[in-house]
Symmetry: C2
Subunit: 469 residues, 2 copies
């Protein structure tokens, strides 16, 4: 591993609770480092009396008492993962005890008194990175995986953790690197004026790389909304039933989630997960409050909100559409549709009040329309599945999608460097100057997977992990 | 096991998250029942390609992917505990996955779709009970252990879980049972008027049992305060510095706790754990608010509060004690001391304001006195250790202590039945009538360990467990 990091890695023994904080049936704690096993065994009285560090097998579970001095702290299961066949590639010991915070605290205290130290945030995963168990973007995938709440975000993080994204980046970097070494070779023989690297081949490669980078860069827009939730604006005239609709959607989701005990809804009231995609209703509360004033204050503020949205639900009281206003309604749709970046759904609400067919129905139906009664919760599931189908239209498939803003920045910088390279060759700039930009492109690609890294970046990445990971 | 329970136990397969709710590095889920292994293996793609239900060893950890249909949900560690060598004595499978609630939800859903069902609260432990892995009071010890927050409560619950208390109860019950069988034998031969059981021996036994039961019953007072926190009242004249003192104590504790990352203080602001004992400051907030009015409203209400307390901290501004008021102060101490049930500590506050030795110091020091400055946080640790020593005076040692109100009620009923037995013999009541009371005494003892039980009791006990335990 080429690393510019001066971060000191040693294999002293760290410990931390690994299961979620709080009280539960079982809690899991782990140790990693040189003395994991000997520290753990100092506190372990196995039921199997003959057990010792020598006879202990890797990847087996042993039942016994966790003791401190002669005091029994708990009955535990202990397992030992002999390095390098462990998460960190070091010797790892896992302890599962009764899930009280107090017992966890006593066990951690005992381990610390026997020479372990409390792990820093992300330190287990950082060791896995330093020991070559995973690269940097895979490590970031681990954190994203733990944080993921919807199917799409989960699948994206899983793919990243399993190295799909890294492989792509490494492949691009290797291609560039191979060619670059020829150019560097030329520089060594500069006085002899030879060309090891074919200029045209090289320009073709740079063009191809730019294209691949560009498609990764563009995928970030989608990756970002998948990760943080797809921003949706619910808009419409006062009394169209916007907040009733939002509540109906939230209730629909609540009903689904509450079937599985132990799962709780996100505390952000206005985020819901439908079919694995999370939808974030941006500042709809604000819109709701200002319902009566929207027209008065002007359309300005509403547009600002809409600007952040990827998806627009235009709610309309279908029973109030008549010959007088139907053209206004259709004209207003046009305004929102203009912005081709957004997806638009026309929610024809209050079908329970509908007495006769509204005029110009055919033209209204040119838009993706869902007829609902928010009040009576009719067809809400239809609206939910329409939301999902809109996301699927956003080209979410098995392509590699960039979801991490650090990767996005690095890809952009690498792309810019390649543009400089292209221009340099076009302007016949000397090879040694161009090679600076090539090195920069390589550097930024390498920073994604951690082949190139530094303390600050590592600190940023692993500092965001929870303790115990 | 003699059980009057009609509760149907079958070995269908249950599953649930076992680690605390929420997000963390690792989460643990488990399955128990007939099809645990086959259901789990339907979703497990081990890295070791050759693995199957046949080749899988008990108590070993296997790394691989958890899949649903062909979709990878997570990389997991799977372990299998072949019954009866498991917590429930059934086949158990444990899965440790990345600690996101979303992943846990997906895994549980997959398991349910493959034939497992969501476990009820406490169902794993209930199965352990039904399968004779533990008796009822041990099962209750498990719940207490998870809930315990201080050293004393923790040790008490651990002892109960490990069967110390059960053994004692079973021993008493067996003694009574042996004798009773002789008496029942007499009833079978009633017409022949023989005495198999020596009356005097029996009366001695009943007396001995009553004494043992009585000591267990009495221990409940202590057990209960250990479990729920020792109630402490901080009292004293207005401006004596009561709330400053409480804050100083809370801060002292906070400083100790916050040294260990990941531990958080109890949310009840006025409960603190010192040296493993929790102290609960009863309604001191109320006392604090009404500081100015205490004298006016009369001492009545204060006394009510004090009545609940086990420990009284009488706070006094030592710099204001002079020849005029010293006798009043000493007289007031007397009032609190009268109630011998309570422990009294005299907190001589504001030593930073003390200019000269207060009068009658010798008489004041007859009481357990701690000199502090709450404002400057001087000697607060001394007060803390005095609090602890007071609890230790309450005879907390390695004796068996009853902490569960269900056990307390059963012991009392058993005791009362034995009293009836004693009186019955004294009044020469016929043996067959007396035997009703003997059976009642046996019944109540048996209900503690679950030798005698019913649906309602079991429902009450296991319903209070968390899901996954």
């Amino acid at each position: 591993m080429t690393t510019s990091s001066s971060m000191v890695y040693n294999d002293d023994t760290i410990c931390a609770p690994a299961s979620p904080a709080g009280s539960g049936a079982i809690a899991l704690l782990r140790l990693s480092g040189r003395d994991s096993l000997s520290i753990a065994l100092r506190h372990f009285k196995p039921r199997l009396k003959s057990l010792s560090a020598e006879t202990m097998e890797s990847h087996k579970l042993y039942f016994g008492d966790f003791v401190d001095k002669d005091k029994i702290i708990d009955e535990i299961l202990l397992s030992y993962f002999k390095g390098p066949h462990s998460y960190t590639a070091e010797d790892v010991v896992e302890i599962s005890c009764h899930g009280s915070t107090y017992i966890q605290q006593l066990i951690i205290e005992s381990l610390i008194n026997s020479g372990a130290r409390m792990a820093n945030a992300g330190e287990f995963t950082m060791r896995a990175f330093f020991n070559g168990r995973m690269d940097l973007s895979q490590a970031e995938g681990v954190a994203d995986l733990i944080a993921s709440h919807g199917k799409a975000a989960h699948q994206m993080a899983l793919r990243q953790m399993r190295g799909g994204f890294s492989d792509k980046i490494k492949e691009l970097r290797t291609e560039l690197l191979n060619f670059t070494s020829l150019i560097e070779l030329e520089l060594d023989f500069a006085e002899e004026d030879v060309e090891f690297a074919d200029r045209e081949d090289f320009m073709n490669l740079v063009g191809k790389l730019k294209q691949e980078l560009s498609s990764l860069i563009n995928s970030f827009k989608l990756g970002n909304v998948i990760k943080h939730g797809i921003p949706v604006a619910i808009i419409g005239k006062p009394n169209a039933g916007k907040s009733t609709l939002l509540n109906a959607l939230l209730n629909e989701e609540r009903a689904i989630v509450s079937e599985i005990p132990g799962t709780t809804r996100d505390s952000i009231e206005d985020t819901i997960v439908i079919d694995g995609f999370s939808f974030r209703f941006i500042d709809t509360a604000g819109l709701r409050e200002s319902t009566d004033k929207i027209e008065a204050i002007g359309i300005e503020r509403t547009y600002e909100k809409i600007d952040q949205a990827k998806l627009i639900l235009y709610v309309c009281d279908i029973s109030h559409i008549n010959k007088t206003n139907v053209d206004d309604v259709i004209r207003e749709f046009g305004k929102y549709i203009e912005d081709s970046d957004k997806h638009f759904i026309f929610v024809a609400n209050k079908i329970d009040h509908l007495d006769e067919t509204p005029p110009k129905l055919k033209e209204l139906l040119d838009y993706e329309t869902v007829f609902v009664s928010a009040k009576r919760k009719e067809n809400i599931h239809l609206l939910a599945s329409t939301l999902v189908s809109k996301v699927k239209e956003m080209n979410f498939d098995d392509n590699i999608i960039v979801s991490n803003s650090r990767h996005y920045e690095a890809l952009k910088k690498s792309f810019e460097a390649l543009e400089e390279v292209e221009q340099g060759f076009g302007n016949n700039i000397p090879t040694d100057l161009i090679s600076v930009d090539i090195r920069s492109a390589l550097h930024h690609l390498g920073s994604i997977t951690g082949e190139i890294t530094n303390d600050e970046v590592l600190g940023n990445i692993f500092g965001k992990f929870c303790i115990g990971k």
